[in-house]
Assembly symmetry: C2
Homo-oligomer: 454 residues x 2
């Protein structure tokens, strides 16, 4: 006795292709697990990355495997779901096919595009090797390599030649990633490296945070921005707002601010200034915003493409006159909501509109400090230790996999109580861009002024 709106069991079930195994894609796949559809999740990596903790991999608190999980393991209990590690090279919305790197094509009835965002160097892609950004596990281990290598090279230089170039770390961009990186580098230098070196004083490192706009954490309320800046300053981070980077070279950064243009020596430069949408958005042929995000309505559809859904950071969705932010929370909610839309479709009901429910936002600032804008279950701006505890709790809770929760929790306990970072591993190349140039240029001042402790 089926309901009249329910179509008869179809001979073939609708095929849903989800491109991207980030928060939006995984939540969408989870939501579709109990619907009569066949799902294929395509990602070019074999793993989902818990991006909010990537900076802790970059700063040697966590290991990559602590925050990455194989996508097929996450979805293995869904009998209707295939996982395919491959690169999408084409999307044909009229033929309803997705082209893959091998030349094969897969047909879909519904397409879910959730490939997120990547760094934007504002057209200066030659800066990428000089100032890595932080979006992938590979990015994180590259940043870790550079930051740890600095201290080793400085100790070597000091031991062999009696001086070393100044240890300036420059972080470009003071959004949440830039603030977290700057705070964590300062922590490493001030607290975690001191006991390990005899000839240099890691605590004499400088961390410079450069931001073009007038305040750090520009997306946060001004009072929290002020608190964050104060916290950074307490940590010894030199915050330079209204400062624009005009050039990056090996071992230096050129920036223009209120005091004019200057060149800063930098042993490590990190990029946290701009993001742009994944290039796959272009393949739809739909309107994009200036960062390449696909303009979608509140059912995630680009204009005229009712069986294509764009979720997560790749979607440009307006709500109450504001763009829904490109962070984890809306991505998860969009993924969850997608199942409701397809369920409605399958029973012939109207698709429900999506509404982002903002529970708040937060960023850590080094050891035991954070700022949080809480929207739910109550509204508050909190900072300091309470915000940091809230941050820990929420991130442990949202980490995927019991094992990861346990191992991250253990790593944090260990790190915060023993002042030791567990993942201080330098792998790969042992050179640093621009280091040798600075060494060859020799000390700017007599060695005894450059020397840290010796």
């Amino acid at each position: 006795m089926g309901e009249p709106t329910k179509p008869l069991q179809q001979p073939t079930r609708p095929r849903v292709i989800i491109i991207g195994g980030g928060f939006a894609g995984i939540h969408a796949a989870n939501g579709l697990a109990h619907l009569p559809v066949d799902v294929t999740v395509i990602d070019r990596n074999n793993h989902h990355t818990f991006q909010p903790l990537l900076y802790q991999v970059a700063l040697a608190v966590l290991s990559p495997a602590n925050i990455a999980q194989p996508i097929r393991t996450m979805l293995r209990n869904h009998p209707n779901t295939d996982v395919l590690m491959d690169e999408v090279t084409a999307i044909d919305v009229s033929a309803r096919t997705v082209g893959l790197s091998s030349g094969a094509r897969l047909t879909y009835d519904y397409l879910v595009l959730a490939t997120g965002a990547t760094h934007s160097y504002f057209g200066r892609d030659e800066w990428a090797p000089l100032a890595p950004g932080l979006k992938t596990i590979e990015d994180a281990t590259e940043i870790r390599r550079r930051v740890l290598l600095v201290f080793e090279l400085a100790e070597r230089q000091m031991l062999e030649h009696g001086w070393h170039p100044p240890l300036n770390f420059v972080v470009i961009g003071a959004g949440p990633t830039g603030v977290e990186l700057a705070g964590a580098i300062s922590d490493i230098a001030q607290l975690y490296m001191r006991r390990d070196f005899r000839h240099i004083d890691p605590a004499k490192s400088r961390v410079l945070l450069l931001e073009g706009s007038p305040r750090v954490l520009g997306a946060y309320p001004p009072d929290l921005s002020a608190k964050a800046e104060a916290a950074l300053t307490r940590l010894g981070v030199e915050v330079h707002t209204q400062t624009h980077v005009t050039a990056i070279g090996p071992g230096w950064v050129e920036a223009t601010g209120s005091t004019g243009s200057r060149r800063i020596d930098a042993v490590v430069t990190l990029w946290a200034a701009g993001v742009q949408a994944s290039p796959l958005g272009k393949l739809l042929g739909a309107p994009l915003d200036r960062r390449g995000c696909v303009l979608v309505d509140d059912r995630f559809n680009p204009p005229g493409l009712s069986n294509v859904f764009v979720l997560g950071d790749l979607a440009h969705l307006e709500q109450d006159g504001h763009q829904v932010p490109g962070v984890a929370q809306p991505a998860m909610q969009m993924g969850d909501h997608l199942a409701k839309i397809l369920a409605a479709d399958l029973r012939g009901a109207p698709r429900p509109a999506f509404r982002y429910f903002d529970k708040g936002d937060m960023a850590t600032i080094g050891r035991m400090d954070a700022v949080a804008k809480v929207e739910w279950p109550f509204k508050a701006h909190i900072s300091g230790f309470p915000a940091w505890v809230t941050w820990l709790t929420v991130h442990i809770f949202f980490l995927i996999g019991f094992r990861n929760r346990l191992s991250v929790f253990a790593a944090w306990i260990w790190t915060y109580f023993t002042f030791t970072r567990g993942a201080r591993l330098i792998t790969g190349d042992q050179r640093l861009p621009g280091w040798q140039d600075q060494v060859d240029a020799g000390p700017a001042n007599p060695p005894q002024q450059q020397a840290a402790r010796d």
Copy 2:
């Protein structure tokens, strides 16, 4: 009232340079911590690697950071010890200097050379990229990448084209590393991957272990070799002894055995067949054996070089007509003994001779199986589950750092009880040598015979 044999406090303390932060070097540095000498430990990596567990990183049980520890953290409580991450490029035994990559030279009174061994491709270095060996963290993550990638590429190929090349893993060399790798790959394919794939059957993978000599684990007693071979066969590993590899190409291995020469398709080929000494041994100008190990007496001195000590895998030391084996245990004992030699020197006493005290040897064979030749506290040959438990206990005990012991123990508990590997991360390049050739060649048999389950 000093003893007459004790020299007066010298104005400058003897300088000891230890090259290599492996088992021998670390134990030597620990032993010298309380002697009136100044020690510099030089290693080209920032970390000590617990090599006996490297294969578990290669097979995704452990993360690199679980078995690696920064050398300077390990030695930070020794006020007389410097740690220098640098590459040694020259040794001048008459001038008593060590030359470094930067061109700097350090002077020593005593030199300790403990740079270990690396793979030997018997002059066929072009095989290295085709058949990686397992000596470093980078090697381990490269092997992990290849092994995990196979299953992803096969699933992709199956899903897109309805067939996939046969999943043959070839391990060359059946010493402890080869046996452990072959057993662990079989485990992964048979037990750990099954639930994650829909279109391929990982359990239909073949693991071939090729060994030139007549038995596996040639350094073990024959009864344990037989037990190991039986255990491998139970796991589904195809053991081919008296089989010599004559050529390796992308995606294939050519081997000659009792049944003549044949070419085996191989999606992953691993090299565990030969080791050669670190090239630094040559810099001493002292006699070497055919693998490049430095011939030393029972005070670790090469002939005529009484202030140079060669320890660990790099040393060729004969005891009772046998060469002391190049494994962890003698390396640790040599490191410990070095402090006794230098202590004797400092008080003008004769140097004590080293005697290797063999407590036994063991190798795991997949999940919950192992063979062990116990020499102390009692003599026994054990195998199966008891040997495996012994192996676990000993390796946890010898792991350096409380944190690593804890995290490895937790990872093992997790792995063995949940049948999930925690570190299944593919990073870096997503191609596999020879895979595309095999795909382009097409199925040898009709697809339905190649197809695993579909």
